[in-house]
Symmetry: C2
Subunit: 329 residues, 2 copies
């Protein structure tokens, strides 16, 4: 019987989870659809996730004893254990997630936003090891962010700090979830780059397979695939996305002066197509004293999921605060 | 003989300083011109400041023994004791300020940016007492900022964190010091509102005494005075300034989720003309979960100078790190 914590990363499209022991060994990990159940039906969603967790647990030879659970989710509140008004989830209003999920697992449970969880995963197991000041950006359905300052995550006064996806790109710009206008994540995210492709299909005249794909059928992965093949519209969409992201990152550097910025999530899989122009535009807009100081890096965890690992590490911390997980190898 | 630290607040226009004892009692304070000496001549400037400090010390009945010195200055680096490429000072390049000033006072000396110093002053002696997460904005010649997270100032990886004046308002906008374009402080500062007045004199047709003042003769104080008298252009200039500031503050709330935001400095003396519209625009752009949570407040130190008090407190901390100045009344 092996004690493990359950790490869960709830995204707009997929929910990922895995079992992690105290030493950081990941026993099994999988990804299921966040939106498979009826939209907004949290009860059905949690029942389904629980079933999938138990299916995964059954695949592991060793018997796993779940002693805690850490969850990363958009607008997840560390202080209250609730998800509140998350634009990229179908759950409406305020969802008492921990309270509801403890009906399945009566163990210590902790919630934070998904990018905060990824920041912790990167800090404990990945390439942010030893860094006291860094920024984690997750580019999935939305844009999440976690800020580590003096070695600690910023939770802020109400537990919701780190919502860079909702800083303003253009006050008269694209409508985003909740009816706001011009949020950065309406431009810089898998959803955002899809919207950009459609703007560019209107602006440009080049032939591209993108002209034969409907809005609803287009994915971030497809745009990445086409960019890698040299498609002019897909490439331009990455350049546009990188310019907006790069500008805002130069703002963040002026505020935080971090040691590094990490980009994770689906869009980050485009590699140089995203990282190179983002770095170029960031440096172009950078305030003199910060120029050429801050690298933009991919996760050092390769195929392992930083948010799942980070959420599980948070749970271990909750169970045994004396164990400093950050000093583990 | 009373032990005091010297607190100095170097601004683009004025340099303020005073003597503060360990209990936070301010013995004497004064303000001299930063730009009286030849522009960029740091040697002459420091000689002049030293003479003025000694003049002030001579006015105090009790004999004051300077045991330390704290300095707040734009682009002041806490780690290196240097001022680097400060757009609002005439000093060029990298100035080893502490090294140079220790020729006058051979005592422990500490430098940080002016808004960081003000944040510490407000936290120890003012209305941020007991707050663990807040933002300090200083609106003088430029726009300075200090961010307190989990009870500590953010210095960042290189000691320069907290330069909100250099986040981007408009990438094709006004030129600022160092030749960058569109920095927030080119809009939101005493210099910025003056530029806005001249834009509005072009855009609007209303009669106003502002049409008889040259650019070089106009001051932030005059614009404030006219706004208080109901001048339509001055009022519009405050509204424009407040809109840009309010938007960026809503961005900062999404990142930091602070308990409060403090506005200090010359422009903040306009009171409701600045605070009310800034709050209105901040709430208009605020992401749902943060709405109506964060007050915008003036300094609680009234006529005392938060940056002078904060810089002197930093010096006390340097001398005797065991004394927790933050617990003083």
């Amino acid at each position: 019987m092996k004690d493990v914590t359950l790490g869960i990363d709830i995204g707009g499209t997929n929910t990922k989870f895995g079992f992690v022991d105290r030493e950081g060994y990941l026993y099994a990990e999988t990804s299921v659809s966040t939106i498979k159940t009826a939209p907004g039906d949290v009860v059905a969603y949690l029942k389904y996730v629980h079933e999938e967790i138990e299916k995964l647990r059954a695949t592991v030879d060793e018997k796993l004893n779940i002693v805690g659970c850490g969850i990363g989710a958009p607008n997840g509140n560390y202080f209250t254990g609730t998800i509140e008004y998350a634009p990229n989830l179908t759950f409406q209003g305020v969802v008492p997630l921990i309270q509801m999920f403890q009906e399945y697992y009566d163990v210590p449970m902790v919630l934070t936003n998904d990018a905060n969880a990824a920041a912790i995963g990167e800090m404990i197991y990945g390439d942010a090891k030893g860094m006291k000041n860094f920024i984690m950006i997750t580019l999935g359905t939305g844009l999440g962010s976690g800020f580590v300052v003096n070695g600690d995550l910023i939770y802020g006064n109400d537990g919701f700090a780190g919502e860079m996806g909702h800083i303003m790109n253009n006050p008269r710009g694209r409508t985003c979830g909740l009816g706001r206008q011009g949020c950065l994540e309406a431009y810089v995210s898998a959803t955002g780059i899809k919207r950009t492709v459609f703007k560019l299909l209107a602006d440009m005249t080049e032939a591209t397979p993108l002209r034969d794909i409907t809005f609803n059928n287009l994915t971030g992965a497809k745009i990445t695939e086409l960019a890698l093949e040299g498609d002019p519209v897909a490439e331009a969409a990455f350049d546009y996305t990188a310019e907006l992201l790069g500008r805002k990152l130069s703002d963040m550097v002026a505020i935080f002066s971090p040691e590094a910025i990490f980009l994770l999530g689906g869009l980050a899989k485009a590699g140089d197509f995203l990282f190179k122009p983002t770095k170029k535009y960031m440096e172009e807009h950078m305030f003199e004293i910060f120029k050429n100081k801050v690298p933009i890096l991919p996760s050092g965890l390769e195929d392992r999921n930083a948010a799942v690992l980070g959420a599980s590490a948070l749970a271990w911390k909750e169970i045994d605060p004396i164990v400093d997980v950050s000093t583990q190898p």
